[in-house]
């Protein structure tokens, strides 16, 4: 019987040598004349173990990692094709604690299947959500999504069903589904991973959204920093069209839906939905004032659903298993599961999908295993560059939209970056301002000018120039940006800055170096 060996093609796995490992395995298969084949799967999300090579044995899949090309011969010698013991062996992939303790709904297939195999997709319940949707009335689909409690995973947490209903009820000769795959936040890679590891689930989710709202055309706007995701999505759309999942008659139904992949051009602000729409139309990615809502006047002025990748990719399982099944996970008004992205200076970095409600400390210490450097954790930034820095004393905060908001933070796209005690929080605050200055779309003054002034002010504090006065000025700038900005780039940059100042005041009082030396 042919043995199947899985070597991920996920960009993070490639970045740490997966292609070279696959080549080494290929060579070894040929040299030893064994009956084995390689499948390039997505990543299981245990990124500290990448490249994670799996062998499908009689019973389940055995994991080996991180594998370097130079390990491959010894793996064969150890009989890894039969799941043999080896220092890199972690036993059954399913039993690795990081994996076993997850609730994988959106990511159930990611890393398991061949991303571009529709047979694999179907075998693991793919397309059952879309098949159900076709048999339902649009209003029933929208109700199912509303009842599931799904909130937009792109950051703002707006209920997906309500957005869909607005578009469903809007009149227009043409409506659109636009998938926001701009994922510019540091520490987020869930969108990338699903597009590279299970692209059909996004296509299925978009088709369901189209049927529910009456939109017949969809776009996925992927940031140009993700060439691998763009290539996989392009290919998946081609296959889906060929297999009549997309096109004039979706799965043989009376519904039409087709979609296209578009590439961004390196502007963070294009993740903001109205800026994204301008970009898609071929304009500068400048934020539009709301109203009008994109749901009513979006792409080319027509009713448009703009949803994050995770929001859309969570829809198939909701339709398949029912709203109640999904809603039963989570806490408070944060329902279902959330793919937490654990990154930065952390031992076990990766993607961890779980129901809402774990505390930040559990995520960092228990699941993440503390810092990679082995030094104490000092700060954790949650929610990307616009998210607050949390000190260890706030590790009891549960992962829940409201709980984070109550502590002047945000979940955002659920990316968390761990920093050890060598981090300088004044420097991080300065970077937040610098990033805002680089990426500002320029439409409003508090953001455009305030961020540059913020950098200068942080620099003055660092140099010990009137630090008390400049700290007041920095806080005042933050206040102006928070309340005077049109969108969250200028409006939320104060979160990292103020949280750094509030929780790590010692870093904002640099010892007056010159005087001390005298």
């Amino acid at each position: 019987m042919t043995v199947t060996i899985f070597v991920p093609r996920d960009a993070a796995a490639l970045a740490v040598g997966a292609d070279k490992v696959a080549a080494a395995i290929e060579k070894e298969i040929a040299a030893r004349g064994v009956d084995a084949r390689i499948v390039r799967n997505g990543s299981r999300g245990m990124l500290w173990l990448e490249p994670l090579v799996e062998v499908r044995a009689d019973h389940g899949r055995i994991a080996y990692g991180p594998v370097r090309p130079s390990d491959v011969a010894s793996l064969f010698d150890a009989g890894f094709l039969e799941g043999g013991a080896h220092p890199l062996c972690h036993g059954q992939t399913h039993d690795i604690p990081f994996y076993a303790s997850q609730t994988r709904l959106t990511f159930s297939r990611c890393g398991v299947t061949d991303p571009l195999s529709l047979d694999d997709y179907r075998q693991y319940r793919g397309l059952t959500g879309l098949e159900k949707a076709i048999s339902m009335a649009p209003a029933e689909i929208v109700k199912e999504v509303t009842d599931s409690g799904l909130r937009g995973r792109g950051g703002a947490g707006f209920p997906t069903g309500i957005k869909w209903k607005t578009v469903m009820d809007a009149a227009g000769p043409q409506k659109y589904i636009v998938c926001n795959a701009d994922e510019g936040d540091s520490a987020t890679f869930a969108d990338r991973m699903i597009m590279e590891g299970d692209p059909f689930v996004l296509i299925e989710g978009m088709a369901i959204a189209g049927i529910a709202t009456g939109a017949t055309k969809g776009y996925v706007y992927i940031r140009s920093e993700y060439p691998h995701a763009i290539a996989v999505m392009d290919e998946a759309v081609r296959i889906a069209r060929q297999e009549k999942i997309l096109g004039a008659s979706v799965l043989g139904s009376a519904y039409a839906f087709d979609m296209e992949v578009r590439s961004g051009a390196g502007a963070y602000v294009c993740g903001e939905e109205t800026s994204l729409l301008n970009s898609l139309e071929g304009r500068r990615g400048i934020v539009r004032a709301k109203p009008p809502l994109p749901a009513l006047q979006g792409f080319l002025g027509r009713p448009t659903v703009v949803n994050n990748v995770m929001s859309l990719a969570s829809v198939p399982v909701i339709l398949d298993r029912g709203a109640g099944f999904y809603r039963d996970f989570g806490m408070g008004r944060s329902r279902g599961t959330i793919p937490i992205q654990i990154a930065g200076n952390v031992k076990h970095g990766g993607l961890y999908e779980v129901a809402f409600g774990l505390t930040l400390g559990e995520i960092v210490e228990k699941i993440g295993g503390g810092t990679a450097s082995g030094r104490p954790v000092k700060a954790v930034q949650v929610g990307g560059p616009l998210g607050a820095y949390f000190p260890v004393s706030m590790f009891d905060t549960p992962f829940d939209y409201e709980a984070f908001a109550a502590r002047d933070g945000l979940i955002g796209h659920a990316g968390i970056t761990v920093f050890d005690d060598t981090v300088d929080m004044l420097k991080q605050a300065r970077f937040a301002m610098e990033f805002c200055a680089i990426e500002s779309c320029g439409k409003c003054t508090p953001c455009r000018i305030g961020s540059t002034r913020g950098v200068e002010t942080a620099d003055k504090i660092a140099r010990g120039i009137e630090p008390e006065k400049n700290k007041v000025l920095l806080a005042d700038l933050c206040n102006t940006m928070k309340f005077g900005s049109l969108c969250a780039l200028g409006g939320f940059t104060p979160y990292p800055v103020m949280s750094a100042m509030t929780h790590f005041p010692e870093d904002f009082s640099p010892a007056p170096v010159v005087e001390a030396a005298e």
Partner: protein, 155 residues
């Protein structure tokens, strides 16, 4: 190297893509893929064919970080400067790369071999620090790995 016929290629790219809804970014991407940058001479042609003002096209080209107005070096090295990479020492690596290449970000080495650019997250944040060399991704960079990468780019 033969001088490419900018006008004819531009017109053909525009004609291929102008049927798209919102064709300007796809056109500019294709032009940059063809020429390695967006030559000034393309702008009036694009403007004319899409019925835009030249200022509008110029405004779009200059808005986005990806579009170059001048040719880059033979290799483009993008170093991630965002938070997760910072937490793993990317600032120090950046200083090292700058010293090895003798240039700052946004510059090209004198021999035209390497252009160094900052990038804010490649989605490789759990395998930080990360970089991209000519579209190929590299993670878990340390002093040795970054020196190898620079040597590879220098070739």
């Amino acid at each position: 190297m033969p001088v490419p016929d900018i006008d004819a290629r531009t017109l053909s790219i525009v004609n291929d893509l102008k049927g798209l809804e919102g064709p300007l970014l796809p056109i500019l991407h294709e032009i940059q893929a063809e020429f390695g940058y967006v030559p000034e001479d393309c702008l009036p042609i694009i403007a004319r064919e899409l019925n835009l003002s030249r200022a509008e096209v110029h405004g779009v080209v200059t808005f986005y970080h990806d579009y170059r107005r001048h040719p880059a070096g033979r290799h483009v090295l993008k170093l991630c400067r965002a938070e997760a990479c910072q937490s793993m020492g990317s600032d120090r690596l950046a200083e090292k790369v700058k010293a090895l290449l003798g240039i700052d970000f946004h510059e090209t080495t004198g021999d035209g071999a390497v252009t160094l650019e900052p990038v804010y997250c490649l989605g490789l944040c759990s395998t930080a620090p990360a970089a991209m060399l000519d579209g190929e991704v590299h993670g878990r960079l340390d002093d040795d790995a970054i020196a190898d990468l620079v040597a590879e780019a220098r070739r």
